[in-house]
């Protein structure tokens, strides 16, 4: 019986490894191309990292820099040129700023609302909760068009505000937090009231600390979703390159797909995708737990 088990394990791993190879294929491609020279890319040679021969890059000299500056190994060139051609650091900062702002405002709005819906009694509570449930059915991307029209009418297109505002209301966040708060014992809150705490303090000093695990899960969910969001920024940022979020930055690079600069393009993709991937690999248990927890609730 033991031998059978090992053979069985072997087959399982075989299937899983094939699956893993397919899954990792594009990642491999991106990294590999970002390290190679143009000729190698177009002729598909050089294995993973390419032969790395030092050469002079024509596009670079075309831009007016000396031959000397433009002579180096391909992998250095790709990344150097990517940063030169586009403000990648700026894109990353934009991404950070936008996702963090969105998350903070979401918490600011959702937490008190969830508290009120779970622990306070007031006229219209059921109605508002039904409203929340109804809004859960509306994906924000679906109403992108009318939102865009509204923003255009008040002149907020092409601003940070446009990137952030539609996401400030997270009904999912309200729902998640409410479910969580329902499990907090009423006595805890009554004790705080007896101690003289106003409702406002209760939300931030009592409820917030108990909700940290759920908040963490929600944070992961929100940050990942908005860092990777391409659709909404694409609609709402029409001219101002300074406001580009990471996906828009990648897109811009790809603009001239038939141009001959695949190396730097892939280099920019690697740079922009890496932060999230690295964060994920480091904290993957947390990530996966977070996504699962938000899912089950």
């Amino acid at each position: 019986m033991k031998n059978n088990q090992y053979i069985g394990e072997g087959w399982k791993h075989a299937i899983l490894i094939i699956g893993a190879l397919i899954v990792l294929l594009p990642f491999y491609m991106v990294v590999s191309i970002s390290l190679k020279s143009q000729q190698e890319i177009q002729s598909i040679s050089g294995g993973l990292i390419g032969a790395q021969e030092v050469q002079t890059f024509p596009v670079c000299t075309k831009m007016g820099m000396s031959d000397e500056t433009c002579t180096m190994k391909p992998y250095v060139y790709n990344y150097w040129f990517a940063f030169k051609k586009a403000p990648i650091a700026r894109y990353l900062l934009n991404g950070l700023f936008v996702t963090v702002s969105i998350f903070l405002i979401q918490v600011l709005i959702a937490l008190p609302c969830a508290y009120a819906l779970s622990k306070l009694r007031f006229y219209g509570r059921e109605f508002i909760f039904s409203m929340v449930l109804f809004c859960l059915l509306i994906p924000v991307h679906a109403i992108a068009l009318p939102l865009y029209v509204m923003l255009a009418k008040i002149g907020l297109v092409d601003t940070y505000a446009a990137l952030i505002i539609p996401w400030t209301i997270s009904v999912f966040g309200i729902f998640l937090m409410r479910q969580f708060f329902m499990t907090v014992p009423d006595e805890l809150i009554d004790a705080a009231r007896m101690d003289g705490m106003g409702e406002y303090s209760i939300v931030w000093k009592v409820m917030l600390p108990t909700a940290i695990p759920a908040l963490l899960a929600f944070a992961i969910f929100s940050v990942v979703a908005h860092w990777n969001d391409y659709f909404w920024p694409r609609i709402v940022i029409t001219g101002n390159r300074d406001l580009f979020t990471p996906p828009l930055g990648i897109r811009e690079f790809r603009g001239g797909v038939d141009s001959d600069e695949f190396g730097p393009m892939m280099a920019s993709i690697v740079t922009i995708t890496v932060p999230l991937v690295v964060a994920f690999i480091i904290a993957q248990k947390r990530f996966i737990e977070g996504i699962t927890m938000t899912g089950m609730k």
Binding site: K12, F27, F122, F231, P246, P247, I272
Partner: protein, 318 residues
């Protein structure tokens, strides 16, 4: 429970935003859809149901519905089934499950746009590794395997692989060929989605009480398939419902892949609804018809979710 006036401040902002950002736009879209409004024009006319009539009669829009339906009907079943199989495989491994879990979840985390471009390169007709892999395998074991020569009814001189090899390595233009584009896009969709489903199924699997499997064994359920039918699948009911609901809604909203790789083409074979809204509403400034598509889209999503959540939900919880 406490009676307090504080709730107004707590709930107020949320309610206001819900109305302004979520509910009002739907009404706005509805209103615009009955006009011929274009953003930027000061005036517009009411044209009734004309936009909707266009939607259900013009070929472009029929293709749009077709493309969206194909995408959803391929991506949802495949990503759910593959997710489930992966979860079951991982659950029964003795070691290494965590590594695979991380790998399979990576596509969910990575920026889809970036990965779409990565796939574009991988599938590139001349520079892509897939086609070069196939080309190098002409006349060898790869041709045998992928050309289906091992199936009894396939003539090895007539298989697609062989013909392609003969014609100067004319392998498919995965994204540029009208016949292949939608399937390729679906493939990328499944690639991106199954990891998420897998993770949810893993959580569901660990919550099945082990004694049920013991009982099944004692009752005579010997094979994995029998135990799956008797214990695993029924107990995963709620998880399956959730997974299908989420995947369906996400598939309806596919945009990134289309916009960067195919732009709805070739010849509108990948012209999904979200892209249509984008093209018509934002790029071509035909706000009204885009609003009509938006309304239809929202109705689809709401109906679908409603159906899945409230109708099927009862049957699935024990």
């Amino acid at each position: 429970m406490h009676y307090s006036k504080a709730h107004i401040w707590f709930v107020g902002p949320a309610v206001l935003l819900m109305f302004i950002i979520l509910i009002f736009p739907i009404l706005l879209a509805g209103g615009i859809s009955f006009t011929n409004y274009n953003l930027g024009n000061p005036s517009f006319d009411w044209i009734g149901l004309e936009n909707y009539e266009k939607m259900f009669s013009r070929k472009t829009y029929i293709k749009m519905i077709w493309a969206t339906a194909t995408y959803v009907l391929i991506v949802v079943p495949f990503s759910v089934v593959i997710g489930l199989c992966a979860a079951m495989l991982l659950n029964s491994l003795r070691f290494g499950a965590d590594i695979y879990k991380t790998i399979f979840f990576l596509p969910v985390m990575a920026t889809l746009l970036a990965m779409a471009i990565a796939w574009e390169f991988t599938l590139h007709p001349t520079m892509g590794i897939v086609n070069s892999f196939l080309a190098n395998g002409c006349g060898g074991i790869r041709e045998f395997l992928f050309g289906f020569h091992w199936l009894p009814w396939v003539n090895s001189n007539e298989s697609w692989y062989h013909i392609a090899c003969e014609n100067n390595n004319d392998f498919p233009f995965w994204l540029k060929d009208r016949g292949y584009a939608i399937w390729t896009v679906c493939f990328i969709g499944v690639w991106q989605a199954f990891g998420f489903n897998m993770v949810l199924y893993l959580a569901g699997l660990t919550s099945i009480p082990r004694e049920l499997y013991h009982a099944a064994e004692m009752d005579g359920a010997k094979s994995t398939w029998e135990q799956f039918k008797l214990v695993t699948w029924p107990m995963l009911g709620p998880t399956t419902l959730f997974v299908i609901t989420i995947t369906t809604i996400r598939s309806f909203q596919v945009f990134d892949t289309i916009e960067v790789l195919t732009k709805g083409g070739p010849s509108k074979s990948t012209y999904v609804m979200m892209y249509a809204i984008f093209e018509k509403g934002i790029q071509q400034n035909l706000t009204a018809i885009a609003a009509a598509i938006t309304v239809v889209f929202i109705m689809f999503v709401i109906l679908l979710t409603f159906f899945q959540r409230y109708v099927i939900e009862k049957r699935v919880h024990y």
